[in-house]
């Protein structure tokens, strides 16, 4: 048995190596709050999502009335969030015309329903990625939109929350690696122009948005875990019964 344990351990290690290699380079992702069961945060995230994202991005597999799952009533959804549809049973379609979008940004803004699931990788969850993305924008005169991003270089999307965050500039350090001078991001930022909210408030808002996107990627996720606990408890009990039943049958087999 010992040999098998060693093998399994080696396999796990190798898979980690494989994952780390697949992500390849790029900056490390920050850890998102990842609270998909905090209803207040999810509701705030939904509000930010509808106000800032849904103009250009759709969430075409998500129905407005599914927001009831995060504690909103149908009337609340209708009055506060339903901008792009007529009925609460409608899908969250974007307001933008896809042909114009392509002309403006060079690519159609992707659908965001499962964006948090698709962006996961060895660097962390998809939520971590999006959280990092919204905290890594900087002004760059060399790009068509005037914006650039550390985690997504030459991103087509200009900073959608820039009024809130203000303009920032990343601080680089020059270091010598393999005999070459390379610019390394220090993890520090300089505020160029102030935003309408404080840095802490901004982080909370982005955290709420990311929570919402993560929840929207799989609305059943919390229910899934809750049911899973009971299934595990049942199977534990059942395994015990099955084990004793087996022992009862086999006890006089010689």
């Amino acid at each position: 048995m010992n040999l098998w344990k060693k093998l399994l351990f080696g396999m796990a290690l190798a898979l980690q190596l494989a994952g780390a290699q697949a992500s390849g380079g790029g900056m490390a992702w920050d850890k998102a709050p990842g609270k998909t069961n905090d209803l207040a945060s999810l509701q705030n995230g939904a509000k930010i999502f509808v106000n800032y994202c849904l103009n250009c991005h759709s969430a075409a597999f998500m129905r407005y009335n599914r927001l009831k799952d995060i504690g909103l009533t149908e009337a609340q959804i209708k009055d506060n969030l339903l901008f792009t549809g007529d009925k609460v049973g409608d899908m969250m379609k974007a307001a933008i015309d896809p042909i114009q979008a392509k002309a403006w940004f060079g690519a159609n803004p992707p659908d965001l329903t499962v964006i948090a699931r698709s962006r996961a990788g060895a660097g962390g969850t998809g939520g971590d990625y999006i959280y990092t993305l919204f905290r890594s924008y900087y002004r760059d005169g060399g790009t068509p939109t005037g914006w650039n991003n550390l985690v997504f270089p030459n991103i087509g999307m200009p900073h959608p929350l820039w009024e809130l965050q203000g303009e920032r500039r990343p601080v680089f350090d020059t270091r010598e690696e393999h005999g070459q001078q390379v610019k390394v991001f220090t993890g520090k930022w300089e505020q160029v122009t102030p935003g309408t909210v404080s840095e802490q408030e901004y982080n909370t808002m982005v955290g709420d948005l990311v929570n919402y996107l993560t929840w929207m990627g799989e609305p059943a996720q919390n229910q899934r875990v809750a049911i899973g606990v009971w299934v595990m408890l049942f199977l534990l009990l059942f395994t015990f019964i099955a084990w004793r039943l087996n022992a009862a049958y086999w006890k006089d087999v010689t």
Partner: protein
């Protein structure tokens, strides 16, 4: 027809019912006895013997969840991705059904790989069980086709580009390749026509073949009887146990003894299975790949295309077959011919024949593209399993009574298989970032692994006879519980 049996009108209801059916459908009871209550399996089965029944369980899970998925899934390139999300969101319990099916695919390969390894360890393919093993290999092949085609259906980026890469492999076959690839796709690129035919194969054709093969696998097994960890033929041992005077003394009725035993295995397996379904359905991107949550886009090729983990050992063998590998194979063939000339005590005509065959093989290797040979290697890695019953010449059937160093050969084989699996997941090129180790590429390591894999099987007629086997006992080793 058998005699019509009358029963006393005062008999209990159960006996009357039994009699009613037995007069009209005696096969029912005869088959039940043959395969369940009077099928005598060796009583010394261990942990490794759970995986056969577990494979059946997973097959049932896949069929039942598949039936429900088909009720809501739309095999249409414009709607497939959307309909999967519809299942995940709007269909009540849809996420549960879908996760069971996606986890079931990986679980199927986990149990089948372990089941095959059990056969390898205890020589379960040896005479008279060759056909049991061959049906099993055919099941494995059908399962690979089933998994491959099913993976296209969610119509995500990995579905699309995985299918594109694998179908393109067929076009490397000389002469017929391009037309064959066209026939498989039904189009010049993977598209709606491909999705529709893969759907048809995935839900009807291949499952029918699979079920037929599983029935053949079990019928053939029950005809010759199960092997066991000692590799001893219990039918050749003493007769008579407490259930029957003619049954093997070391046998035990499958039902109820192994049915209650398998329930324990099922329960433990379901704990692992549902832990994935409920707590980690993506399994860190190995069961559901992250890229597959992006709808298929024929214009955007993902940076890294890798098949799902259960195909990667074979995929890395394909990638390992570069021009270098072809040259290495030529050298190996040439050396084998020379060695045959010097060492083999056989007719000169035979030696000359072998030399000509070797030359033809080398000529063919150098004529066709390495890509084609990669496809041959990948296919050959599966096909070679079919020949295992005739490759193994060890006097002892079970690993327990083979020379100790055989265990190490098997262990190294398993390690190489796992290394190939990991290499297939990783991107090709240098494994480590260090410039001094840049020569150590994924393909180079995979080449060594591929050569070991084939060496293990092709040289088995030679190495499996070496060493002194331990004495095999007359009766199975069994410790009462």
């Amino acid at each position: 027809m058998a005699e019509f049996k009358e029963i006393s009108p005062n008999a209990p209801l159960g006996a009357k019912l039994h009699n009613w059916f037995d007069n009209r459908f005696p096969t029912l009871f005869a088959e039940y006895r043959k395969h369940m209550s009077e099928y005598y399996a060796p009583k010394n089965f261990n942990f490794w013997y759970f995986f056969g029944s577990l494979a059946m369980l997973v097959l049932a899970i896949q069929i039942v969840t598949g039936i429900f998925l088909v009720m809501h899934y739309k095999p249409d390139a414009a709607k497939a991705f959307e309909s999967v999300e519809y299942i995940m969101r709007d269909v009540p319990g849809g996420w549960f059904i879908r996760y069971m099916h996606s986890t079931g695919a990986s679980a199927f390969f986990v149990v089948v790989y372990l089941h095959m390894f059990r056969g390898l360890m205890y020589g379960s393919y040896r005479k008279p069980r060759e056909l049991v093993w061959i049906f099993g290999c055919a099941i494995f092949l059908a399962l690979m086709a089933e998994a491959f085609m099913g993976y296209l259906l969610p119509w995500g980026q990995m579905s699309y580009w995985g299918a594109q890469v694998i179908v393109n492999l067929f076009s490397a076959i000389p002469f017929i390749g391009p037309d064959l690839a066209l026939l498989i796709r039904g189009d010049y690129v993977v598209g709606d026509a491909t999705l529709n035919r893969f759907f048809s194969f995935h839900v009807i054709a291949v499952p029918l073949v699979l079920i037929g093969l599983v029935v053949a696998h079990l019928l053939a097994l029950h005809d010759v009887g199960s092997n066991n960890p000692d590799g001893i033929e219990i039918k050749k041992g003493p007769k008579g146990n407490r259930w029957s005077p003619d049954a093997p003394a070391d046998g035990i009725p499958f039902h109820p003894y192994y049915s209650v035993h398998d329930i324990v295995g099922v329960s433990v397996f379901l704990m692992a299975f549902f832990a994935v379904v409920f707590f980690a359905p993506e399994m860190g991107g190995y069961f559901l790949e992250y890229n597959n949550f992006i709808p298929a886009d024929p214009l955007v090729t993902p940076a890294h295309i890798a098949p799902v983990w259960y195909f990667t050992p074979f995929y890395s063998m394909l990638r390992a077959t570069t021009d270098l590998m072809v040259n290495v194979l030529c050298v190996i063939i040439a050396l084998a011919v020379v060695l045959g000339f010097v060492k083999c005590r056989c007719a000169t005509a035979f030696k000359i024949g072998a030399a000509v065959a070797g030359l033809v093989a080398i000529a063919l290797l150098k004529t066709f593209d390495a890509k084609f040979w990669g496809v041959v290697v990948m296919g050959g890695a599966v096909i070679i399993l079919f020949f295992l019953p005739w490759l193994d010449r060890s006097p002892a059937r079970s690993i327990r009574y083979r020379p100790d160093w055989h265990k190490w050969v098997y262990a190294v084989f398993v390690i190489w298989f796992l290394i190939l699996m990991v290499l297939g997941i990783m991107v090709p090129g240098p494994i480590f970032g260090t410039p001094s180790l840049a020569w150590l590429t994924n393909e180079l390591v995979a080449m060594v692994g591929t050569l070991f894999y084939f060496g293990f099987f092709l040289l088995m007629p030679w190495w499996s006879q070496l060493g002194t086997p331990k004495p095999v006992p007359d009766r199975v080793t069994f410790k009462p519980h």
